[in-house]
């Protein structure tokens, strides 16, 4: 396990060196400009709009960065041939995948929580009424990003980085529409279609089960048991995808 942490620490340093944290700066600038603009045109609804749009931006920035970095994470080691050096030492394929994932997870934690905390402080500074739920919403965006990362790493074990990134983004979009697939399982008389819909519903990660943005703006009341269950589901999904990545990666010859 210490070997996985060593790979994680190295991946963390590598991604930080790639100036990923600049995304926080871009987000901050975009949100400052947006908040000034929104405050002037929203008829007193600046705080609500900033929180809503801010969470969409945190999610968007987070997913894009996570997908494009994780798509090249494994391939870069193969292309630079450093993978031969790593596997000449007593490092398992599973430890390599887990280390890569943990390293990028640490970087993404800084990115997502950096953006969320900045958003919280900005809403507090501009409108004096930030919702504490905003921070929890950031936490759940992070969990979704972890799932997208795990899915993208899985695709990157057998596809090119570009294809893995595109597939990762497609899975994120499909996950947002998961409830539609669920409604397909209840429509029509065809058992085959219903069965297929169930398979798709189970395979595609469910990103639309819970949305904390409505809780942040007072639109819904939080249901702790559903939120907790969803959090556990997302973690379990990420673990399954990492396991599948390991299964594919262990068959590769180096």
């Amino acid at each position: 396990m210490s070997r996985a942490f060593a790979i994680a620490a190295n991946t963390f340093r590598e991604t930080i060196r790639d100036r990923i944290l600049l995304v926080i700066l871009v987000f901050a600038l975009a949100m400052i400009v947006a908040s000034l603009w929104l405050a002037s045109i929203s008829l007193g609804q600046g705080a609500r709009l900033m929180q809503d749009f801010g969470l969409v931006a945190v999610s968007g920035f987070g997913v894009i960065v996570a997908v494009f970095v994780s798509a090249g994470l494994v391939r870069k080691e193969i292309d630079k041939r450093t993978v031969f050096i790593i596997f000449s030492k007593p490092v398992g394929r599973g430890e390599f995948i887990a280390g890569k994932f943990l390293g990028l997870s640490a970087t993404m934690a800084i990115v997502i929580f950096g953006m969320t905390v900045f958003l919280f402080l900005l809403v507090w500074a501009v409108a004096r009424e930030p919702s504490g739920w905003l921070l929890l919403a950031g936490g759940f965006i992070y969990l979704q990003v972890l799932v997208v990362m795990a899915v993208t790493i899985f695709f990157s074990t057998f596809a090119s980085p570009i294809l893995a990134a595109v597939l990762g983004l497609c899975v994120f979009a499909a996950g947002q529409l998961s409830h539609n697939v669920l409604s397909l399982t209840q429509l029509g008389d065809s058992a085959a279609l219903q069965g297929l819909s169930w398979v798709v519903f189970l395979v595609v990660p469910n990103f639309s089960a819970v949305s904390l943005a409505p809780v942040v703006v007072g639109e819904q009341v939080a249901d702790w048991s559903t939120i907790g269950g969803w959090g556990g589901y997302l973690v379990a999904y990420a673990v399954i995808m990492l396991g599948l990545s390991w299964l594919v990666f262990r068959r590769k010859e180096f």
Binding site: L43, Q45, A213
Partner: protein, 271 residues
């Protein structure tokens, strides 16, 4: 030697010619670029005049967004809230055609059923658009979806009292005021307004009270509207006006009352 000299001349000549051709090519490319730039900029700057303010803006069905993006539903509602405010602002100053306004209000409030401000602003905007029934239905829908809000039933009571034409409007308005008063945390004056409506005093006094309530609790837009209405309702004589304003002191903060009376007494200009 001669031949070499001629060759040198030819080389110099051809390099000068190539240089000229390069300059000429650069000038032509530059002119083409400038022409294209003028075309692009010219096309874009003439668009506002060409498009005008289209009263029939396209507003999708709420069902479309409910199926498309549940995670971003409130963000979509917020984006359309901005579009609705913009749409209203454009047309209220211009052609006063509000064809798409009911669709905007429905979309925003269906995607975000607890967006209190959307109901309140939407109701006033729909009244401006001559859609009284739509405004009434919107506020009834809002009161049903937001049992924790006292502003929506109070505004509904006020609008029924001022704009409804039916004979039992006082009783109906009082009923909504009573509902508003029953909400925990509602202001103390609501039961009084309801009681006054039920006992029915002078209409002007009640209207002044109600517009005072709008001024006390509304946003910038509602406050501006309340100021215009109050200015019309209040007697022009300064002494009588001052006296008629006094009951409003109980409806708002001292600072609000000071600002309101200063504007209506002509001390301050309307913001």
């Amino acid at each position: 030697m001669r031949a070499r000299g001629d060759g040198g001349k030819r080389e110099r000549g051809s390099s000068v010619g190539a240089g000229r051709r390069g300059v000429l090519r650069g000038v032509v490319v530059g002119l083409v670029m400038l022409g294209c730039l003028a075309g692009v900029v010219g096309f874009q700057i003439t668009r506002p005049a060409q498009s005008g303010a289209d009263p029939a803006a396209f507003v999708p069905s709420p069902k479309f967004f409910r199926e498309l993006s549940p995670s971003f539903r409130t963000a979509v509602a917020d984006a359309y809230w901005l579009a609705m405010v913009q749409y209203y602002g454009e047309h209220v100053e211009g052609d006063r055609e509000f064809d798409a306004l009911p669709a905007y209000v429905r979309l925003v409030t269906d995607l975000s059923p607890r967006f209190e401000r959307a109901y309140l602003f939407g109701a006033f905007a729909l009244l401006d658009a001559g859609e009284g029934q739509e405004a009434y239905e919107l506020l009834v829908r809002g009161a049903r979806r937001n049992p924790q809000s006292w502003r929506i039933p109070a505004t509904l009571g006020m609008l029924i009292y001022i704009y409804a034409g039916n004979e039992d409007k006082d009783a109906l308005a009082a009923e909504w005021y009573q509902k508003a008063a029953a909400v925990p945390g509602s202001p103390d004056y609501l039961p009084r307004v309801a009681a006054e409506l039920l006992t029915k005093g002078g209409e002007a006094e009640e209207s002044i009270l109600m517009w005072g309530q709008v001024y006390a609790t509304g946003d910038t837009y509602a406050r501006d509207k309340a100021l215009v209405e109050l200015d019309e309702l209040l007697p022009p004589d300064p002494e009588q006006r001052k006296e008629a304003l006094q009951p409003l002191a109980a409806l708002m903060t001292p600072q609000q009352f000071l600002t309101l009376s200063s504007i209506l007494m002509g001390v301050l200009e309307t913001p």
